[in-house]
């Protein structure tokens, strides 16, 4: 019986539900020092003076770092001082760091540091950043050290420009009979992971750097700390226990750099840092904002001919992952449609806002909000049913993507099947708006989604299987358990491959860069694919070794052996065999002779046939497969006061083979709730000086219990042939279309086009009043 698809409970769940699971901040020791930041109260200002005298006099203060130049940091462009020097560029930027005996003293001393600022004019949006006389955030971005393939525009606020040039836009426009042009936007926001970021760093006398961090990217911490501070990469050892929610935010390396510097300032003693919620929201990187302009051309019967698109990603003060976000947004710059002519310019633009990390969906939710809203607006103009328009243009095997990848049945999911299933589930063909009472109507809205990953072409993963004396297996993979249950799914794969009971597979939850094979980063819904392939290869390797030694013991050809239920036995005579426990540590003959030795299965996987994007056209193969889906939202809308309640949210996703049904459903509903909160409520509010007015959970509220709609999740299973058992990504897909579906739904309900997030009743009221 197959264990693939079964709702196996994740291995760490008992620890979690009893509160015994340990996260980075839970580890403590008396030898730890503690560091606390002082953050900027201005979004753009010269630092006139920093007075640390009083803070230094507090008993228990060990060091204060401020105003000192350290190597610049940043994942693709090194534009970010770890601690501000001379000026600050966003509200929340680290200006000083206090290291002290305990957290209280650190906090006390931090509050005594006096900083004088000279405010500078601010850039408060991406479009402002592009104005002719806009203040420059960085004197000359092109002078910074940067990775290959980054395309900043010198002496501007543009950190990266990605071009997509597919077909000929002129041809597309000449063939178009109906056109639509519209702008869309939303402010930066935050992930609000339950666990705020935490890290401990120590520099040992022998030069080894030990870091423990709540991270989705321990291997990237290792590399970047080594690069930034010129330390042998093997001397940086990072470990990560369970992580209490990442959502992309913990894929950026930021707090680790500060903890390293803090440790260095106190002679390498271990230093612990734990973000307050406020720091986690604005000082550490958050969720990117966007301004978008979309022009669509179509024939009068709804055949899309051309898309001309500008995306301005709000990179905040430092580019870090925003460069990559602007690239990912360009790669899948449309919805999942076949459009012959696509012209897209995607920019990562500096502003005086907090800077972004990845966010679940990695630029896809953002782009899809704009594009899928534009699709509904076009369908309105065409007087065509929004789902019919999507069905007519759905991308199919044989079609080419915006980056000109020719698709086949394996590399793209089944868009028409998702649309059809959704149509039935939500009774789309009945009335779209129903009157419930005097002021209440029910309305539905839909959208389609797709996502590929744009992770580096050489992204890889490795896995090791070791055995215990009882024949059970230890599974060691570099995937961080961020709450997605991926490590349990990997155990299911081993159990399936080796036809053994999953109870006999023990998963190592912690990742240690010194002893765990690398998994690039636990991001991009790529855990089950990359790590899954590595794990299957490791299982194959172990199987070979088991059979080899068993063939000696059983005096049989390897080809005559079969493995199941933790035994290797003869195909023809299953009772003749050996249990793993007899051979996994070497086989011992009755007279004491031993052969074999420990069995250690090893496996790796590296992405196949990926290419960089052509700098002029964007052509290239960015990732292995497109997961697709169709989503809907149904609301009860009050036509008098514009309040609404989300009644139902529906996702039909083609995630290939479902590996763990309830696990997948949990990922999808969790992502949907996050998408609804982002669409309906979350977003930083900035004042005229670009300061964040709501950097607290009092005023910035993610979705609460009691506010959830009914979630309906259904899967289409079109296999991705390269992937273990044919699975596709499922970690992010549920989020992708929620803001767009909600905006489409509320636009229908309210009778005004809603093109900005968050979709609050006040925003709808302003649109109704024409304010």
């Amino acid at each position: 019986m197959s264990i693939i698809g079964k709702s196996v409970i994740r291995q760490e769940s008992y620890d979690k539900v009893t509160g015994r699971a340990k996260y980075t901040a839970d580890y403590s020791s008396r030898s730890l020092f503690h560091a606390k930041t002082v953050i900027s109260t201005f979004a753009h200002a010269k630092i006139k003076s920093i007075d640390t005298k009083e803070a230094r006099s507090v008993r228990g203060v060990r060091a204060i770092l401020a105003g000192e130049e350290f190597p610049l940091t940043g994942e693709e462009i090194r534009d970010r001082p770890p601690i501000a020097v001379d000026k600050v560029r966003f509200h929340g930027e680290v200006v000083a760091l206090v290291v002290a005996d305990n957290p209280k003293v650190a906090k006390q001393a931090a509050s005594l540091i006096k900083i004088e600022y000279d405010p500078l004019p601010v850039v408060n949006s991406p479009s402002e950043a592009l104005e002719e006389n806009a203040p420059l955030l960085h004197n000359d971005v092109s002078k910074y050290e940067k990775e290959e393939g980054v395309n900043p525009i010198p002496k501007s606020n543009i950190a990266n420009h990605v071009k997509i040039r597919k077909g000929q836009k002129e041809k597309g426009w000449s063939e178009s009979e109906v056109t639509l042009e519209a702008t869309f936007g939303f402010p930066p926001s935050d992930h609000i992971a339950m666990e705020t970021r935490a890290v401990t760093a120590e520099i040992r006398p022998n030069g080894y750097v030990y870091i423990q961090s709540s991270s989705q990217a321990p291997f990237m911490i290792k590399k970047l700390i080594s690069t930034y501070f010129d330390i042998d990469v093997g001397k940086v050892v990072v470990n990560t226990p369970l992580v209490g929610g990442g959502y992309g935010g913990k894929a950026s390396v930021q707090l680790e750099i500060l903890a390293y510097l803090a440790s260095k300032a106190v002679d390498g003693r271990p230093v612990k840092m734990v973000n307050s919620r406020e720091e986690d929201m604005i000082t550490s990187p958050g969720h990117v904002g966007l301004e978008a302009k979309i022009k669509l051309g179509s024939t009068s019967d709804g055949c899309l001919k051309v898309a001309e698109i500008t995306y301005l990603f709000d990179s905040g003060a430092y580019s870090d992952k925003a460069v990559h976000l602007s690239r990912a947004g360009a790669v899948d710059c449309t919805g999942p449609y076949c459009i012959e002519n696509i012209w897209c310019d995607s920019y990562s633009v500096y502003t005086n806002h907090p800077y972004p990390a990845p966010y679940r969906g990695f630029a896809h939710t953002e782009v899809l909000f704009a594009f899928e809203r534009a699709m509904d607006m076009l369908s309105n103009k065409l007087e065509m049913d929004p789902l019919d328009l999507r069905m007519k243009n759905a991308i199919l095997p044989g079609d080419r993507t915006p980056t000109q990848v020719k698709l086949n049945r394996s590399t793209v999911g089944d868009v028409p099947a998702c649309i059809e299933r959704l149509r039935k589930i939500i009774d789309w063909d009945k009335e779209k708006v129903v009157k419930v009472s005097d002021h209440i109507i029910r309305a539905k809205g839909v959208c389609c989604v797709w996502k590929n990953s744009t992770i580096p072409t050489d992204s890889s993963s490795g896995a090791i299987l070791t055995f215990n004396e009882d024949g059970s297996i230890n599974l060691i993979s570099g995937v961080v358990e961020i709450g997605t249950g991926t490590k349990t799914v990997l155990a299911q794969m081993v159990a399936e491959k080796m036809e053994m009971d999953i109870k006999n597979i023990h998963v190592q939850m912690r990742v240690d860069t010194q002893s765990t094979p690398e998994h690039w980063k636990t991001v991009a819904s790529r855990g089950t694919f990359l790590a899954g392939r590595a794990v299957l290869a490791a299982a194959d390797d172990a199987l070979c070794q088991l059979k080899e030694i068993a063939s000696v013991v059983l005096r049989a050809d390897v080809d005559d052996l079969v493995v199941a239920n933790s035994r290797v036995f003869l195909r023809e005579e299953p009772e003749l065999g050996v249990h793993f426990r007899e051979i996994a540590y070497g086989y011992v003959y009755p007279n004491g002779n031993a052969i074999g030795g420990q069995i250690i299965g090893r496996g790796t996987y590296i992405q196949r046939n990926m290419t960089h994007l052509d700098p002029e056209t964007g052509a290239g193969k960015p990732g292995p497969e497109w997961a697709v889906g169709a989503q809907a939202v149904e609301v009860e809308f009050n036509t008098r006061d514009y309040t609404y309640k989300v009644i139902k949210a529906v996702s039909v996703l083609d995630i290939g083979k479902v590996l763990n049904y309830k696990g997948a459903r949990g990922q999808v509903t969790g992502a949907m709730s996050m998408g609804l909160a982002f669409g309906a409520r979350e977003g930083f509010v900035f004042d005229e000086q670009a300061r964040v007015l709501n950097p607290q959970l009092r005023t910035y509220r993610p979705v609460h219990y009691g506010e959830h709609p009914e979630y309906i999740v259904d899967f289409i299973e079109t296999p991705h042939l390269d992937s273990p058992f044919g699975a596709r990504g499922v970690g992010e897909q549920g989020l992708l279309g929620m803001p767009a579906a909600l905006a489409n739904c509320l636009s229908i309900a309210s009778g005004v086009s809603l093109q900005h997030l968050p979709l609050t009743p006040e925003y709808i009221w302003r649109r109704k009043e024409g304010l």
């Binding site: 906090k107 307050s276 006061d641 409520r681 509220r701 609460h704 506010e707 009743p761 006040e762 302003r766």
Partner: protein, 277 residues
């Protein structure tokens, strides 16, 4: 985590508490009365608030009462909002209390803390403003009674060191027809854009409002206009909207103009509900 230490006192009588406050003050300390502690913790950790000594009032018997005596309801200032929510002793107050914060917070937030705290919505005071309740305040010379509508003007105008002990409400108000409506920025959590509570007494509607201004209020002028049944509800509301106190709040929860839009809808619902009933 708080960056400051404080001394903790737990007096068992009102006199002791008030005296403790006075003594601490005289020795140059910054004392504060403490019941649920939610504001001290949440504002203190952001350095918005400071105290070097706190006086816990939860062992003072008068602060912990929740009972009727001779047709008067006595509610102690140390009763939590969750306790009020869980009892049906004053239905309007139970409803208003149940919409403040979230359940976890309400098991700590107390009646006195909500009325006397720094966070200016102070929604728990609304039913008492409507019911012409009497507050008992422990002062240096003993306990004093005040009509809440005289001593509560934007905030409870007690002298520093005085302690709100009880709020006393006549039974006829406790059982009167009522309604309360809370509207938030989005869905059902967060501070009020508008919270409006109403009681119907002798066929007249009384209304008290939080969220519109940086303080809760009850306006007699508005009530007079709203009860003038010679004109339509719409017109009454229009006129009442010209009699609002100032300033109208405009912040991350809502703009001033939107708050007025919400208020006019809410007033409409209140009048409809109470005039029909």
């Amino acid at each position: 985590m708080l960056a400051f230490d404080f001394d903790y006192y737990k007096p068992s009588s009102m006199e002791e508490a008030v005296n403790q406050f006075k003594v601490l003050k005289r020795t140059g300390k910054s004392p504060m009365y403490f019941s649920g502690g939610t504001e001290i913790i949440t504002l203190g950790r952001l350095n918005y608030l400071y105290a070097d000594s706190v006086i816990d009032i939860k062992s003072i018997p008068e602060c912990c009462t929740m009972d009727f005596e001779h047709d008067n309801l006595y509610l102690g200032s140390a009763i939590t909002l969750a306790e009020i929510e869980g009892s049906d002793i004053f239905p309007l107050l139970s409803k208003v209390s149940s919409e403040v914060g979230d359940h976890t917070s309400r098991t700590k937030i107390t009646l006195g803390g909500n009325i006397c705290g720094d966070i200016f919505y102070r929604e728990a005071v609304l039913p008492f403003l409507l019911a012409d309740s009497v507050v008992f305040i422990a002062e240096e010379d003993g306990i004093q009674a005040y009509n809440i509508n005289e001593i509560f003007n934007e905030e409870l105008k007690k002298k520093e060191g005085d302690l709100l002990v009880q709020v006393v409400t006549e039974k006829k108000y406790v059982t009167a027809p009522h309604i309360t409506i809370k509207r938030q920025k989005q869905w059902e959590s967060g501070y009020p854009v508008i919270t409006a509570s109403a009681l119907k007494i002798n066929s007249n509607v009384r209304v008290a409002i939080s969220g519109l201004c940086p303080f809760p209020f009850r306006s007699r002028e508005m009530e007079e206009t709203l009860n003038n049944r010679s004109v339509s509800i719409d017109q009454r509301i229009k006129l009442a909207m010209t009699k609002l106190p100032e300033p109208i709040l405009s912040d991350t929860e809502a703009s001033d103009k939107y708050r007025l839009f919400v208020l006019s809808n809410v007033l409409h619902d209140i009048l409809q509900a109470l005039e029909v009933s």
